[in-house]
């Protein structure tokens, strides 16, 4: 049975997409069968996985509107070693088109049930806004991985996300929970980051992943080459950290 996780944070620019593509690549590297679902009309996770969003014949948009299945629309990225259910600006239309449709927040969940045995992990890269798209992701998932920078305002975004998860858990998806907080772009030389990191651990305990993703220029460069850092430069510290994170996640699965 596939474990389905949203990579989400209602604050923008915290490294959601970087975390999603690198975790996907890391999981693939340690032998897991991975599907990455891009739920953001910007299509950055698609492009960052070596798939050209402008060339998509079918995308997650078609899946949400039930005009294609995941097996029809997903593309295997040879370079990255995982499947990508891509997105482009077409997806913005789903926000409008889903409004009057039945089961509008359960479309992705229904589509993923069909491919449950085909993957070990499904990672969903959510947009930062709480939209019908994000709701589809949260309704389909077993849990949420929250990438966050250890900065003061990051905690405010976390409060919003925790409230959203509580509401979805109560009303739409009783399985949903926070899987863990992933500290990203971490610079141990900055005192504030260390302080926020300690705060996170004291508030959330073992919900904070042990692995820390360091600030790393190679991770930042990789998207311009259309690749996750883990594939673009496997020797970079950031890339190695994501592979370690993938191993940690696999180890945690039995306890979730």
């Amino acid at each position: 049975m596939a474990k389905i996780f949203c990579v989400a944070n209602q604050k923008g620019g915290v490294g959601k997409t970087t975390s999603a593509v690198n975790l996907a690549a890391g999981l693939a590297k340690v032998g897991q069968r991975v599907l990455l679902v891009d739920l953001d009309p910007q299509g950055n996770a698609t492009m960052g996985s070596g798939v050209d969003k402008r060339q998509l014949e079918l995308s997650v948009y078609d899946v949400l509107l039930e005009s294609a299945s995941i097996l029809e629309a997903a593309i295997f990225s040879e370079k990255c070693g995982y499947h990508v259910l891509g997105a482009n600006r077409e997806l913005a239309g789903a926000e409008v088109e889903l409004v009057d449709l039945e089961r509008r927040d359960q479309r992705l969940k229904a589509a993923l049930e069909v491919v449950d045995k085909d993957f070990d992990f499904v990672l969903i890269d959510c947009p930062p806004s709480l939209s019908m798209l994000t709701l589809n992701g949260l309704c389909a998932a077993h849990g949420v991985i929250v990438p966050m920078q250890c900065e003061y305002f990051a905690l405010e975004g976390l409060t919003d996300l925790v409230n959203t998860i509580k509401q979805v858990h109560a009303n739409l998806n009783p399985d949903l929970k926070i899987i863990g907080l992933l500290r990203v772009m971490f610079d141990p030389r900055i005192t504030l980051q260390q302080q926020v990191s300690e705060q996170l651990k004291s508030h959330f305990g073992d919900k904070v992943f042990n692995t820390v993703i360091p600030r790393n220029v190679r991770l930042a460069e990789a998207p311009s080459y259309g690749l996750p850092g883990v594939v673009f430069d496997p020797s970079a510290k950031g890339s190695q950290a994501f592979v370690e994170f993938a191993k940690e996640l696999v180890q945690r699965i039995p306890t979730l």
């Binding site: 600006r89 913005a92 239309g93 926000e95 409008v96 409004v99």
Partner: protein, 184 residues
Amino acid sequence: MATPKVLILPGWRGSGHSHWQMCWVRRYAYQLVEQHDWMHPLRGDWLARLEDVMSDLNEPVYLVAHGLSCIQVAAWAPISAHRHKVAAAFLVAPSDVEASHLEDVFSSWRPIELKALPFKSMLIDSPNNPDCSAARATHFAKCWGSQYLRLGESGHLNAESNGGDWPEGHALLNDLMKEKEHGH
């Protein structure tokens, strides 16, 4: 009654400086709906953009669509939360995205929505519109419940038709607005 708002909806590739739609934007200060990508139009993207623009407007709104945007209006109207704001649509030279020569460009736009429009509309076409046969234009008008007007040979009714700012077209738009105001 509030002052009517006129939205200009260009089609594929946008409307250039000498296209009547852009002449109307400059002369009458009508609002242009800008798309993210004019060259590679994605149906969902264009629908979301129109919905976003409409969400900021109060009624009454008049939609002035050309080419592909006629198809956009037909696709948008049944699903929009803001369709009630539209007083009428002025649809010019539709692009038949189901025609074989346009299939590759507009793959995401098929099938064409043929539900009746929930507002008054007028469809104007030319017998030698390269993007839509007269029979198809008539079919669209019938399905959408649009008043249909076929002009003399004017091609795609764009800048290449050499109609300048197309005063005849603007007079027709004014007639449509007056009819709507007087409740016809």
